[in-house]
Each structure stands twice: as structure tokens, then as C-alpha cells.
Symmetry: C2
Subunit: 329 residues, 2 copies
């Protein structure tokens, strides 16, 4: 993958290349587990807490992998991105680090903290109506008007490869703690994180990888079952603001349909309970969308008895009201 604008699916070498690119910039998040929780569950639960990543989610990895490769002479017009909030922060932070301007198109109903933080990280925020406007169209229009480089949230090889460094790290870190995972659970919105992670896992650990989604936004699950990309029904709602992409990405689904074992889905209540467990047993703050994989494991959407599962907790950018709601479950 030589070009900045390749549309070929990434391969494992691209993930190793992304890991080199991110070295010293992204945080190598640890693996966490709790022996008491493991005992109660009857299986070994290992968490990869990307909430501890720079900007509070995994999104910095992909954004930096793309933006840091933009040649000096193409940086003048900045970058543009559309995002519900986590990609927004990743792009704003990566652009600022590279001395570039960034314009981010965000839904009006995104958590206030995500909008505020995107601005604080140096991004110019443009708000839109998620139910009545198409963010891709707005993004492409601004890209043409400003001459800025579009940084897509997931359907782009360098983004997928950047997120895939999580899978590479998991494969290295489980060895350090003598764990042999039977499965890896990963949240899926547009599918960038899970396709990159599954690609890395398929070439290293070789264990099963499952997507995790809100039950109202289970387009990956249904698409995997149908063998083709299925959209989310109009008007669907979920507390998982980070996972509201309308349909699996083309590029990401081409990888996911080949690499994933299956799809899992959870209710809002199961998500809130998982957020509470994350706070009390793992001492980490996970946002709703970041907790769907953990929720799928805690409620054993597949039988995990005696097994070892790694769950990616993909972000932690929640408002205090949402955290209080989880704690009251």
C-alpha cells in the first residue's frame, strides 16, 4: 500500500507499518483483568482499554496513521472529517500535531464533551442534523470548497491499518501474561476498528473474532448473516453514539465478511451494566459505544465457560450524566 489514497484493502504488512508510524505518538494501552471477576464469570476476561488512548479512544491511531503521511506540500489546506465525536478528536489531535488545520462535521446531538474537546484539540467544528442530513455529502462538499484532504472515519486503508495496531498489540501482550485467547470481541460502527483488528489477529493469534453492536444498530451482525451489507432501519436509536454508522463500510465489510466468526448484539441496559462493571472492577471509564464488546462477554452472548476472551473497550468519552446512569444500574 504505497499511496496515500489507495482504495485496496490493507494487508498485514500495512498494520506493521502503521505500528512503526504510531510509535512514540500513540499510547500502547495495557491489558487489564480482574481475578475476582474472572472467578465470578467462570472464564478469563481480558480488556484492551483504548479509553486510555490519546484523545480517549482508538480513533487517534487511524487518524494519525493517515494524517502524518500527508506530504509537507499538501498540508496547506488542512483536513476535513465527519464524525460523531471520537474520530473528530483523533483527527483534530493528529492534524494539530502535524501543524495542519482541521474541520470536523459533527452531529448536533453528539455528547457535549466530544464537541468541546474537538475544539480544544484545535478542530473547527461544523454541526449537522444526523437524522435529516447526510454527513458524507457535507464532508465531500467541504472538501471540494476548501481543498482540504478528507479523512474518512473507517472506509480507508490507512485508517483500517492504524486501528489494526490494536490487534497487533493484543497478540504481543497476551504472551506477556501467558494468555491464549479463544476469542476477541470488538465494537463495530463503520467497521474500521474491527476489520483492522481481525486482520492482525488472523495473522497472529488466529482465534475467532466477533463484532459487537447495539441491538438496534446490528447491521454488521445482519450483514454477516446475509453475506451482504445490510443497512440500519431508519429512525433507529441507541445510547451508543459512537456506533451510529448507517451501514457497514464497503472496504471494511470486504475484510469482515472474510475474517469474522460472527456478530453479537446487546441492549442499552446491558451496555450500562458493562460500563458499571468497567468502573468498579477494572477502574476504567468506558463510554456506551466502547462497552458493547465487554457487554457481549459479560452476558455471554456465546458460551465462554472456561475460555479466554479479549474485549476491546474502544473509548471513554462519556458525559458525567451517562456515567451516573450506569453507576445507578
Amino acid at each position: 500500500m504505497d499511496s496515500l489514497n489507495s482504495s485496496e484493502p490493507p494487508v498485514f504488512a500495512d498494520i506493521k507499518d502503521a505500528a512503526r508510524q504510531l510509535n512514540g505518538w500513540a499510547r500502547r494501552t495495557p491489558l487489564l483483568e480482574n481475578s475476582i471477576l474472572n472467578e465470578q464469570l467462570g472464564f478469563r476476561l481480558i480488556v484492551k482499554p483504548e479509553c486510555l488512548q490519546r484523545t480517549g479512544s482508538f480513533k487517534f491511531r487511524g487518524a494519525f496513521n493517515k494524517i502524518s503521511r500527508i506530504p509537507e506540500d499538501m498540508r496547506g489546506n488542512g483536513v476535513v472529517a465527519f464524525s460523531s465525536g471520537n474520530h473528530a478528536q483523533g483527527v483534530a489531535a493528529a492534524a494539530t500535531l502535524m501543524g495542519m488545520k482541521s474541520t470536523i462535521i459533527m452531529p448536533k446531538d453528539a455528547p457535549k464533551a466530544k464537541i468541546d474537546n474537538t475544539r480544544a484539540l484545535g478542530g473547527t467544528v461544523v454541526l449537522y442534523d444526523r437524522l435529516n442530513e447526510n454527513r458524507e455529502e457535507i464532508g465531500e462538499r467541504m472538501q471540494k470548497e476548501q481543498g482540504a484532504i478528507l479523512v474518512k472515519p473507517y472506509d480507508e486503508p490507512l485508517i483500517i491499518a492504524g486501528q489494526g495496531t490494536i490487534g497487533l498489540e493484543i497478540s504481543e501482550q497476551v504472551e506477556e501474561i501467558d494468555a491464549k485467547p479463544d476469542a476477541v470481541f470488538v465494537p463495530a460502527g463503520g467497521g474500521g476498528l474491527i476489520s483492522g483488528t481481525a486482520l492482525a489477529i488472523s495473522e497472529t493469534l488466529g482465534c475467532d473474532v466477533y463484532s459487537a453492536e447495539p441491538e438496534t444498530y446490528d447491521d454488521h451482525k445482519r450483514s454477516l448473516e446475509a453475506g451482504s451489507r445490510q443497512p440500519v432501519p431508519d429512525g433507529a436509536v441507541s445510547i451508543c453514539d459512537a456506533l451510529l454508522a448507517p451501514i457497514p463500510g464497503e472496504l471494511t465489510f470486504s475484510l469482515n465478511s472474510r475474517l469474522l466468526k460472527g456478530g453479537l448484539s446487546v441492549s442499552d441496559k446491558e451496555v450500562l451494566r458493562a460500563m458499571k462493571t468497567a468502573m468498579l472492577s477494572l477502574k476504567i471509564v468506558v463510554e456506551p459505544g466502547g462497552a458493547v464488546a465487554l457487554a457481549s462477554a459479560l452476558t455471554q452472548k456465546i458460551d465462554l465457560k472456561g475460555k479466554t476472551v479479549v474485549c476491546v473497550c474502544s473509548g471513554g468519552n462519556a458525559d458525567p450524566e451517562m456515567l451516573s446512569r450506569a453507576l445507578s444500574m
Copy 2:
């Protein structure tokens, strides 16, 4: 320091030795920071989150450093410890890992989660009344009756050396992120964590180290000012259940009086606000006693403008009610 029962203050070599002993058993917690928070504060704030340590606090380090060195033929009668909850869990976990029984004497008003977790980690819990009974006396009595080995919470060389591995890790990890700390802030209860950390920092980074305490339990601050060990007044209360030791330890104060630059103290309200900042900006759950160093930095008890400070967040074992209270600040 050859003996299991030395009463000499540890030296730097003992901390390096403890690091080798803990390798593969204790977690190497990362350093965390938030660029937006740094910008808002006007100084660089780096956190060492020991809430992510095995058992949810730094206490596992010292407990394991002591218990794992008990010779096979002395393990039969188990260990005994007195603790408000974090040392309890560290001792129970370390003893169970070494195949030993543990009896833990805990105050009746300790957070329920700490009592439950100590039992779940394999400890036998004996409850006592913190205001009317002396835990040291109970501990020594049980030690004689059962023939168990007493694992003191702080005033013991192997415990101090174990906790000091945090200072060693900080000195190595700041290099990886190109930080040059001007000061390190550390919570102080009996003084084990801070004396070990200060010992390691004095031999590596050489920067100032400050103790942090609740303002109602500011015995280290007053002892440092007076030049001799000063007790906490009778009947003092604080939400920082992990820091309610009645007076600085003898051994720990012999180190702290030589190594610390000074003592800082914070109100309960400042602690709760720091817990909220930890959740929202750093995505970690910190208990009240674990947040006093962070609270001291956030409220700039000394002028930090333009400086770099490392704060140890020493534990995260809080009940959900306390976390909700912090989030509502």
C-alpha cells in the same frame, strides 16, 4: 537487606531488587496525561494510575515483595495483616498466589467492596471498631495465637521497597514520553508508598517529592514542619478511608523527613472534584484516598505554572455511591 525481618530502612538497591521480584506478577501501570487538561491547567500533569494495578491499588507491590520471600517451610501458618482495605486485598492476593492462608483485620466501616474483595481474593476477614480498638494490638495478638507471619501495612523495609518500584517505573517511563518532572506528588497514609517512591526518585530523577493528605489527616505535613512524628487528633474524619493511619510510621518517617520537600493537604470537596476529573479527563476510577495527590496538583497547592508534575493515583477501590457523589460535583 538480607533478612525477611530487617528493621533497617531500605536502600535504593532494595527497590531494584523488589522490581525483579515483582516482574511478571505486578502490572507495570502506564503513565497517562490529557493534552486538553494540560492546556487548561497551564502545566503538564502526568498520572501514574495504580488504580489499574492488580487488586486495584499499589498495595499488591509491597505485599507481594514481602510474602513471596517467605521460605517454603515458614508458609504453613499463613500471614496476618491489618488494613482499611487496600493492603488487605494486596496481602490476600499475594498470599493466595503463594499458596498461603491470610487473615485480615479490617475496620467495620471500610467500603463494602474492599471487604467483599478481600474475601473473594482468599482472605479471612476479622472486623474491628476503628475508633475504639487498636488494630496493631489485635494484629499482634492474632500473630501470636496463630503463629502467622505479620505483614505490616507500611513500617517494614520490604513493604517500602515494594511500593518504591512505582518511583523506579516513573523514572523510566517519563523518559519514554520526553518529560522532565519538576515534582512528584504522592498520597501519604502511613507513609510506605511515599517513602519508597521518594527513595527511588531521589536516586533517579532527583526532583522534589511532596506528600499529599486529607486536611483532617495531615500528620505528614505537620510532622515534616515540626521535624518529628505528629499524630492525627482524636476523632478526625475524612472520606479518604485509605489514608486514616493515626501517625506517620517510624521507619517511613525516617526516610520521609530526609527525602521530602514538603507536605500538601486537600479538602474532601477538592478530592471529589479530582475524582471527577480523573474519570472525565483521564478515564480512570480513583478512590478518595487515591486522589489526594491529583487534587493537590489540580488546585495548585504549590505554584506549578509551566512545570511538569507526576501524581501517583494510588487506588481505585471506591463504592458506586462515592463515584456518583464525585460525578455530581
